[in-house]
Amino acid sequence: MTKIVNDFSITVGTKNGSGSSTANNTILRAIFKMGIPVSGKNLFPSNIQGLPTWYTIRVNKDGFIGRTETNDIVIAMNPDSFSRDLASVTPGGAFFHADDIKQPVTRGDVAVYPMPIKAIVKNDPNIPTDYRDLVGNMVYVGVLAQMIGMDFDKILAALTFHFKGKQKPIDMNFNALKAGADWAKANLEKKDPFHLEPMDKTEGMIMADGNTAAALGSIFGGVQFAGWYPITPATSLAEALNDYLPILRKREDGKHTYAVVQAEDELAALGMAIGAGWAGLRAMTSTSGPGLSLMTEFAGLAYYAEVPVVIWDVQRIGPSTGLPTRTSQGDLSFTYFIGHGDSHSVILLPGDVYECFEFGWKSFDVAERLQTPVFVLSDLDMGMNQWMSRPFDYPEAPMDRGKVLWEKDLEEIKGNWGRYLDKDGDALTYRTLPGNKHPLSSYFTRGTGHDEHAKYTEDSGVYIKNMERLARKQIAAKQYVPPPVLHGNPKASIGIIAYGSTENAIFEAQKQLEKEHGIQSEFLRVRAVPFTKEVDEFIERHDQIFVVEMNRDSQMLQILYTEYPQYATKFKAVAYHDGLPAAAKWIREGILEKHGGQKAASSKQPRAKKTASKAAAKPRVRKEAGGASTKKSAGKSKRK
């Protein structure tokens, strides 16, 4: 049997609430510490206890750690999903199962390893009775570790980290794990090809989840106020603020420079944050789609009254309550146009855990500079799963607090200022903060029509002028938001536009397209809306542009149609919305299905001439003749 080293997937099927997350994280972390690129994804139901849940681990020596749709090794611990788990194993794969599950094992094409977990736990006198189920999970880790060659020192390091150095639980868990490993060593014969071997590809890297990273980034951004309301998958972001603020913002006098308030609902969560942002604090809230729906009216107020605030949306799949524990990029259109009346939003789109940290601090600079709500769209996969990451970097720029006038500033200009007066001609106006003792400092903020001095008015001319300035502000925003990241060959005729957590899967799809289909591509990962000039240039230089995203309606594509109507015919949707983290498979297949072959560069001109409105209203998909690589898609290419 040919050995397969450091390139396979592991799926563990357990019951929700059975305490398997410690076990699964231990596998993930130990492999990471062995220097092998790895990712772990928890696929869990909206439930506290009892329903099936899966944890998938992808080990890949080349660094492709997007979700894979193959299950090379499956560990079945849950009788309710046993047959499904068995059926999911790739032919030639390995199937470990708890031997107390008395169900037929009907596959002859996989290596089967029954594990006497209950017996092993029962025979260990050091395990208290009420810990047997929890610690039992460690037995399968031990069996697996023995069979694929995990490093036991690294496992111990993972457990030490998990239990924060507390010796008793470390010992209890490690001993159970060793018991499993010893049993496997004595009783199991290796019948599958999967092996781990140490590498050096994760050296210097850290492992963290996006929500923790976002909270840490916010703390380095000087967050002073957070209003929040519990919602999966965003809750752990606010909780991480509560965990880390006392450590990282400790003062000698013991006083606090921040406040975190759990609100009565998402309306109040954002309302409080807006109040704080208006009063000059670096203020934020964190939520998910249903919460953002509730925040809509306040988002409109912050836009119109020009109040800086940062809103994290850790996206889950909608509409409505949707699949509460499944990932998505379905809130983009909604966020972009949030609120009634004319409005558009500044949106930051982190692509990984590192950027969750980076945008954590950067978002405050953007919000205070622009005096507007800044939305940061993460997702469940990024937010809640553990990811390898390069270490967080200290903010490279000092804080940008925007245009704020204090007493001495007002004295200098003799109190001659207007809250919404575009003095500098850059659409960004000056503000004062409550507590300013200058008698001319105050102004009256309102969501109703206001003039340059914040006074109530219903005057049409004044209204229009103000709204036009807000439109200019959106253009001004382009110079403050993070530019996109580019990967691949700039000369390739096809371009891929994507954002957020799909990056790893796209890298893998790009590699597969090139290797297996001879299709080269350049990939642009958008990191903010409004789009910067790099996006303009990218769209100009590519013939066909595949817009990859995790939603049904191709929401990024819709915004691109609006912003680049002259290029509308270049865009093709590769959208998928099964609630699972992005996988290279559907990206590759989606591109192949719609790929129109390598077009000559000369075809650019006539298409670009199409009128904007026509193109935007009815995005055409060209009927392409042939296309060597689109065998599968013959006859399908008409479908959008």
Binding site: G221, K255, V261, Y443
Partner: protein, 351 residues
């Protein structure tokens, strides 16, 4: 903007911070002639002028509705935030963290607080947000031209609406059961009492809810309507006569005040509120008695006014957070961004 600066030499009628009453005024009201809200705005001006409050130490808040327009009509030198319908409490909650030395004066209405904003209203109570929370209560939606509000009494007849089929919400009772620390009811037709209650409320640390019956002369001022001037005048049952005595002032009671059941309440800022009980033995620090008094007033159709409940022992919201002495909104990068060395610590905390 006022022309009178605090440094400009004290005019004859200046208060102890050198300001005249004009420094507390706002823009001319655009509400109806005779609206109870205008009378309340005037009393706010008088109360804060007499208390020598610096306008720069006050933040005005409101929601949406006729009442919520009124912060434009007082205290032009104070910052103000006219927010969304029913959402004043959350805006105030966040804003008062900006500079915890400041105090909020919020003006809401019965539509704003007892219907769409009921949730936020009650949560502001339990958090003890440091503000005076005035509900200008007229039983009717004015700006949308005369619909029933949630405080309208059952059976109230309005021109276009017919008869109100529902029981009313009692603002004071809602505040009390949500653990508000200062609950009062007054009547815009009794400006002297409104002013004294405003002073006591401003001196209170934490939330002070003032349910002020403030008749809508356009849509709900029929003689038999609970929220009318006529009904109020006929049915007002004051619990006590109220005198606010500023900090460090000698307590000099008028002759008639001296005779009777006197209760002194020491306020957080060093002031004293003197209550001469008309209702014998009424103790406004007793929450049970307060609930009882409200229930009794409901049963008997009284417009019970006065300081119904006060508890001066509870910390205000911002006090719970043990904030730095410097206002949070004056902290700089040096205070807010962890030192460079901390990034290594953070990376080490990850796995």
């Amino acid at each position: 903007m006022t022309e009178t600066l605090p440094m400009a030499g004290a005019p004859a009628n200046a208060n102890t911070v050198g300001l005249t009453k004009n420094d507390y005024r706002g823009f001319p009201s655009t509400l109806c002639q005779g609206c109870g809200h205008n009378s309340i705005s005037n009393q706010i001006v008088s109360a804060l002028y007499e208390m020598s409050v610096l306008p720069e130490d006050v933040i005005k808040f409101s929601g949406i509705g006729c009442s919520s327009k009124s912060p434009t009509y007082f205290m032009n030198r104070s910052f103000g935030f006219n927010s969304l319908h029913g959402r004043m409490p959350s805006i105030a909650t966040g804003a008062l963290f900006g500079d915890a030395h400041m105090k909020g004066i919020g003006v809401s209405g019965d539509g704003d607080s007892a219907s769409i904003g009921m949730g936020q209203f009650k949560h502001a109570m339990r958090r003890n947000v440091n503000m005076v929370y005035i509900v200008e209560n007229n039983g009717v939606y004015g700006l949308t031209k005369g619909q029933f509000s949630a405080t309208a009494e059952k059976g109230l007849h309005l021109k276009k609406q017919g008869d109100n089929p529902y029981m009313p919400v009692d603002i004071c009772m809602e505040a009390l059961i949500s653990n508000a620390t200062f609950v009062a009811r007054s009547f815009a037709g009794n400006p002297k009492q409104v002013k004294e209650i405003l002073k006591a409320a401003y001196a209170h640390k934490g939330i002070a809810v003032l349910d002020i019956i403030s008749p809508c002369v356009t849509f709900n001022n029929q003689e038999n309507a609970y929220h009318s001037y006529a009904w109020g005048k006929d049915h007002e049952e004051p619990l006590h006569e109220i005198s606010y005595i500023a900090p460090r002032s000698e307590i000099m009671l008028e002759q008639e005040m001296n005779e009777g059941d006197i209760r002194e309440v020491a306020m957080h800022d060093g002031s004293t509120v003197i209550l001469k009980n008309l209702e014998k033995g009424y103790d406004p620090t007793n929450r049970y008695q307060a609930l009882h008094a409200l229930e009794e007033a409901q049963q008997n159709n009284w417009l019970l006014t006065g300081i119904i409940y006060v508890n001066t022992t509870k910390p205000a919201l911002t006090d719970i957070y043990n904030l730095a002495d410097t206002p949070l909104n004056r902290l700089t990068e040096a205070d807010l961004r962890p030192e460079r060395a901390m990034i290594d610590k953070v990376n080490a905390l990850m796995f």
